[in-house]
Symmetry: D2
């Protein structure tokens, strides 16, 4: 049994994490820390926790939290995490950062996309990218895990086998992504009001969304099998959909000459048929966010448009679970040798 | 460990039940039976179950199911259950009927509200009304449990202490109820189409809703403490709200002369302060369906309008869980001596 | 042709008003004034107006606006209007206030419910309550019109005939009201975020909502036929429903002895059968917000519960139209002798 | 003033058309014809029409309707229209078909995508494709107008300038489209139930959607300037979004070498800057369905991703208005020489 702390526990992802950790069979104590709600009862902020987790939120004091925790989860705005973590922290605890600060290996790329300084660039090299299915071995022995973004988890899982098995051209790769509103966080912005979001769909962050370099970094690795990791550029276009949860990525790639449908199918099977949290759908079935909402699953399938030589591959996941808190718990399970699905076996309620 | 069967497993309530039972620590086998989808894989009908419950739906053959089950749950349209259950079935299994057939003690009342015949009126007397918090002792030794309706569970839990402690007049009692759409079931009706329900609220079944006599039967018992059980009539008005899940009941009663706020508060504490699944909110907090959705909780609170001498009491629950499948599992737990919260400890995901 | 100004034009009600006025056949010029968005193009704030009303928002300077306008509409937070209007303004323009400042005849009642001072109590006596159907004659010659609240318009229209014709007891009168989210305005509050409102229903402002004294003032007048106007107290309970627009009021009253269904029906016919914007539904039909959304209609019908002697009367309207901007235009039409439906004949789009 | 008939008037598109025609200043009589609801009052089926269009639905008898109508609108399932129209009908009336039967010039393509026979292939050649902005001159003198599909109107308007001005490669062209639920019609299907659609997004009809050949036919014409019209194939992927109305098309094309942002901008200006119903947004603004819902506008803009050399162009429209009934009325206006915006000047209500 371990003790865990969540810093930044009162956003949507933090709250989803506190919920999962409270139900986790190998966790005996959860500390919820929050800058905004320090010393208020957690169930006052999220009344779904009434009678179940009524403890007060602790101050954000990472040194103090390392004394009593085995793992620290960080759910903070970008750049802030990079000033919280240091060697002293990492000596005492495993750190799983749900933010962006340790995802990009090149700190200049980070600075240019995030328009921020980075407080601990020296830690980046030893941090591990926490996409559980692709980096399981490295995660097992990691001290600092950079949990992937929501869009990126979905986009990478969908595109990785196609590039890794050399089935599509390196360009163009179009990732048309759709997300529920919780991905934008719990902040009091005009654009997030019910009446502004409801009954409308819109693109946003076109060509500028910060998940782009993360997707490119990983897909470049997929494409080059670990050697030289540049080369892949993607056109990534997110859209906001009037629903609470869920991400759907529609990925378009041009098939290389002679590639068969069977080869595409086998590429997915090779990578994912033994993965508990990836479900490859039967031919003709397509991912829908409702079947993965509130679960840690990512549903994947593809269709080939032979008329245009495009493979159209789809992935669906819950942005707050497999795209954030669920994958963070999955990584914790890997580090501590718990069963990988431990605490994550909830099925999607339906209708949700 | 027990084995269970769900007959009528492919409606929304049945499906919520199959989900709970699959995660129940004391259940080792679930049989899903369905008239409409017999021999089709359960996860084809509800793809949230993919890789987790892919078994074929069985025919509706209650005699066959009694051979391998310890409990049989019935999720059938009204009147059909009453032709399925008989003494032979009850000798072999506990039956928990999520439908209406055994809820009303007076079969003539049943026939008049449901416009149907009843196939086993002789079984009504020994059946137990499965409102877990009020009939725990009887449920523990019951063979046939009539699981309450969704509106009725909420309305009765809210109004019971007020009547039982003699705090409000017997008339008028107004129950203005609001329900999400899943309460109407998974049937292909024009009125249930997305575009017909979305962005609108409407009353329906005004003065004719079949949950009315069930509420009246129980509140009459509350009022008379088990002696003569008539007397209470309620004005029950359901409304359809554009959301998937949840019921909110707003109950209006006229305070008897001299009743104090403290007496009202104590009435709720007396009945519910030790109940795990009922959460009495702090003064000033009001129930909202989002904090109970997908959980087995019923949140309750009240406000007194001293200007008009009305107590306005509110209850919120999930129509498919505490209003149907969750309470059915709670009743199963009581019968078999499992911990009452076993398999039911899921917190509401938020945002859901 | 007249010129009009809207002060506070960038909230939801203000914007609905600007839209109606731009399409009004008797209006040749609309001035949009806004404190928050002064000098920004109106269509930048509300892009639905692109190419149609791109003018810059003017400062809030009522004296300046009186020079060029025949009517000034005020869409301001409560108490602010009362400091804007004075005799000089009223000499030059008709003022239609969509806020609360001139609705309550008793300034002490105003201060006690609104916790605010009032800047021009001397103007209250000559102001006219702008519920068009009930005060048409007074409105015709008014200089200062207090446009009713959204809930109040609906509640009063539903209950007025019953009290005016002496068909129900004076107590208890229960008004259980449900509103879409736009009624809460366009402000950046946590409770109005999409993820906080979506998929949930909640009561709010129970026993304290400020529309209560307004409803009571008017229903007291209904009840006493203009003589002594106190006596009616109502239990008014608003609920927030996950939809953009629409109000549904469910009004419960106890029938006086001997009252027949025909008498109830005739009371509605007497008051409303010649009203263009009130539609009395056929027996068995019940109001739904979808059929009135984005129109100036109020749909009304009732059911009698003979078992409990309650009349349950329902009204549905669009909170931003008949509950605010549409009724304001209707009042303008009355004042200027335009056809009452002028500029207001839009039917609800469906599905909306 | 003209008289008009709508055959198939009780679907969502038909109903939107009846609404527009009832408010049209040049239309003095609307006949609503319906197979399913013959002889029932129109406002019984769509109660938003109460007191405004209560007439009975007429039988579907096109010959009878030609006697009293100047225009006949057909809103029928595919292939049925092709058996209704003949030379005799066209001698008496202008026919505007909102269905698919006369859209594809090649009847074999029609048969292969629609899996249906065609009842009047000899009429196809003289029919005019009713995309108002591109075929205004031909429409003006047409007798039979094939009103475009909802997705196709949006996709073609977005992609046409890019191909016509030779700015993008002919392949790949990706059209990732998102639609509200009303596009699927008012039919009692499980997949259209509120609880099945709400809170989820899904792709459907991938590589098989019937709007594909229509888009390809038109974009081939765009590309070849009227000479040889094949060559363009598109990857068209529709998605279902949980909202009532609206279509958003995200179109991806590879820029030809040397093409500048200014050239892209000028291509749109050349084609659309004088078009009343097309609004080219300012740089940095992106189309959102909420700003066009319930209007006849199509909002368009683009972003260039120089890193990947893709132009990403977006269009948003209301599937029932510019994508169906509004464009049909626009075409009627062109034929009869009415002002093109006549009866179509409604702005989007917001929030809607």
């Amino acid at each position: 049994m371990i003790s865990v702390a969540v810093i930044g526990s009162t956003g949507y992802a933090g709250s989803a994490l506190v919920r999962l950790l409270n139900n986790h069979p190998n966790v005996n104590k959860v500390y919820a820390s929050s800058h905004s709600y320090s010393s208020r009862s957690y169930s006052d902020i999220y009344p779904n926790f009434r009678n179940r987790f009524d403890e007060e939120c602790l101050d954000v004091d990472i040194k103090e939290l390392t004394k009593k925790s085995d793992v620290i989860f960080l759910c903070l705005p970008h750049s802030i995490s990079s000033y919280q973590v240091d060697d002293e922290v990492l000596k005492k605890c495993v750190v799983i950062d749900l933010g962006a600060d340790y995802r990009l290996k090149d700190v200049e790329t980070y600075k240019s996309w995030y328009k921020s300084d980075h407080g601990s660039p020296q830690l980046i090299a030893d941090s591990v990218y926490g996409l559980s299915e692709l980096y399981r071995d490295e995660i097992a022995s990691a001290k600092l895990i950079a949990n992937p973004g929501c869009y990126t988890t979905c986009a990478i899982l969908v595109a990785h086998p196609l590039l890794s098995e050399n089935l599509i051209e390196k360009s163009p790769i179009i990732i048309d992504a759709k997300s529920g509103v919780s991905g934008a966080g719990r902040s009091e912005k005009l654009d997030l009001l019910y009446c502004e979001v409801n009954e409308s769909i819109k693109p946003y962050g076109v060509t500028t969304h910060r998940h782009t370099p993360e997707i490119e970094q990983q897909l470049s690795l997929s494409s080059s099998k670990g050697k030289n990791s540049t080369g892949i550029k993607v056109t990534f276009t997110p859209h906001l959909v009037p629903m609470n949860r869920g991400i759907l990525c529609s990925v378009y790639g041009t098939l290389k000459k002679g590639v068969t449908e069977n080869e595409v199918e086998q590429s997915y099977k090779k990578w994912y048929s033994n993965e508990y949290f990836i479900r490859l759908l039967k031919k003709g079935e397509l991912p829908q966010t409702r079947w993965v909402a509130n679960s840690n699953y990512c549903d994947i399938n593809f269709v080939i448009d032979w008329r245009t030589n495009q493979v159209i591959a789809f992935g669906a996941l819950d942005n707050l679970i497999k795209g954030a808190s669920g994958q963070a718990v999955q990584n914790m399970n890997i580090v501590f040798g718990f069963r990988e699905g431990s605490g994550l076996e909830e099925l999607s309620p339906f209708p949700m």
